[in-house]
Amino acid sequence: MKFNIILPSTLLLLSALVGCEKNTYQVTERTSNDGSAQVKLGFFSAYTVNPNTILYVNDVPVSNTLAAPISFPGGGLNMNGLSNGDYLFVKPGTAKIQGFRPVPATGNIMTKLFEFNQAFAANINYTFYITDTAANTTGFALEDTKVKPDSGFARFKFVNTMPNVTAVDLYKGANAATATLIQGNVNYKAASPSFDLPLPISDSFYIRPAGAATTTQPIARRFFALSNQRIYTMLSRGYNGSTLATLAPNISVIVNQ
């Protein structure tokens, strides 16, 4: 009698367990498995009135109209867009990167803001930075690491996209006077070596012209609260000395991973 109950019940339970779709956790796949390069476009050209710009890679539009400052796709902190570690998959080799602006007040429908050709290698993550404006607009690619830090740390590099400062120093601390130097003498269009900061990172960051005394007023200051085992690119942008909101020197963070 007992056997008669237990066997069908067990079968029923098994079929119930197998037949159901169980709750699962979804993890966004952000790794190319097709040998593509992965590219973010960091659009940091600071105009007085930031133009809405459509970004193109290899003659194909990849974005809707975007306004600087932004890294696309994925965005970042203290910039437009979201804040995640997305990249575009780009065919390895030389890629054409362009920005076109739909112009509201002229007869032209689209005006080209910039065009660059840049080589990208397979299976490597890059951010392609676009900075300065008009005829001075410049673009450069820097590789982004994919190796995450140990638990309890966040990994950084610092990039200087501020056109009118030869090199800058990066500081971190509760106030400008007591902040400690994190990275020094980072040239325009260059990156510091990768560095890790221990958590918690809820702190202010400051930039000064390279070599400037800690008693001098920083060019820019920004508070960030950052997360464990993430990979970030911190960057200086805007123009040193400008007081216009769109042009003012500033610090932003790109989320790489």
Partner: protein, 315 residues
């Protein structure tokens, strides 16, 4: 007896356990999800074949096939033809220009017909960076985007939604004054604006909510402004009259032809004009004996909506 009771309890316990297990499972919704992408739906609809062709030509398939979600305001083939866009003309447009033209029909979210704002003229951002304006007629349950009627709503796709519209949504990229200056049929009106010294009045800021009634050369001539020379020779008193007349052709609100309200509407000059709705819409000045009809409606400028009318409005 005891064995029987025990057996019943065992069966009930097993049944309850089974019910609990099923209840904890993640059930599938009964909603049938759309499986076709925007791209597939566009390709499958013969009324949208030209729009689909344009999307392909502009290399926007990474969007129409991508994850989205997007809202597509898709002009039908007839709508594109009415705007002068045919297979032949499409081939002459470069893909970059076409991107901006088409992105004006894309929204970076999924918006069902229910979610079109009632308006009138509620702005909705397009992916081209401009606004299109929603107006709903709740009596007829009709939605208009700018002057375009939404013909078919809520074509659900796996990566967004398509609504068919009966007009191409032109980019608002040319200022009103440029439209007036560049059309020889408005040369007398253009000259009159210069003579009256109110060029800035006809050049409101980009994105302004302004409506301008355009006066054709024929209407200007009928009103006595027969030539550039005649306008140039006006006396100061006549210039004052002319200034008032021109300012009487500006309404400081955005009015597409489908969204005019019947009745009196105040103009920039200060007096009202009388609007009658219907087909066509008419507009009549206080001193006019007959109303003018809107002959060419809904010319979209970067700073105004322009309508050519059949006469001149007299305050």
């Amino acid at each position: 007896m005891n064995t029987k009771i025990k057996s019943v309890f065992q069966r009930v316990a097993v049944l309850l356990l089974t019910v609990i297990l099923f209840a904890q499972c993640n059930k599938k919704d009964d909603v049938v999800l759309a499986t076709d992408t925007i791209d597939t739906k566009l390709a499958a609809d013969p009324e949208l074949s030209l729009f689909k062709k344009a999307v392909t030509q502009a290399k926007l398939e990474s969007f129409t096939k991508g994850p989205g979600p997007f809202t597509i305001l898709a002009p039908t083939n007839a709508a594109l033809a009415a705007a002068g866009i045919t297979d032949a003309t499409l081939a002459t447009v470069d893909s970059i220009t076409l991107t901006a033209m088409l992105f004006n029909h894309f929204q970076n979210l999924k918006r069902t017909s229910f979610e079109f704002p009632v308006g009138p003229n509620a702005p909705m951002a397009s992916m081209a960076g401009f606004s299109n304006f929603s107006s709903k007629n709740l009596t007829t349950n009709t939605t208009y985007i700018n002057a375009a009627k939404v013909l078919e709503t809520d074509i659900n796709c796996s990566n967004g939604i398509i609504h068919k519209i009966d007009k191409f949504l032109a980019l608002p990229n040319i200022p009103a004054r440029t439209i007036i200056k560049s059309n020889p049929n408005y040369s007398l009106m253009d000259s009159a604006i210069s003579k009256a010294g109110i060029t800035t009045t006809f050049a409101p800021a980009t994105g302004s909510a302004t409506t301008i009634f355009l006066i054709s050369n024929a209407s200007m001539i009928a009103a006595g402004y027969t030539s550039l020379a005649t306008i140039g020779a006006l006396t100061p008193a006549q210039v004052t009259t002319l200034t008032n007349t021109l300012r009487y052709h500006i309404i400081q609100s955005r009015n597409f032809s489908i969204a005019f309200k019947a009745g009196s509407t105040k103009t920039l000059q200060g007096s009202n004009v009388i609007i009658t709705t219907g087909t066509p819409v008419t507009v009549k000045g206080i001193s006019n004996t007959t109303a003018s009809t809107i002959t060419t409606p809904d010319i979209i400028a970067s700073n105004a909506v322009l309508h050519e009318i059949s006469g001149i409005l007299l305050p």
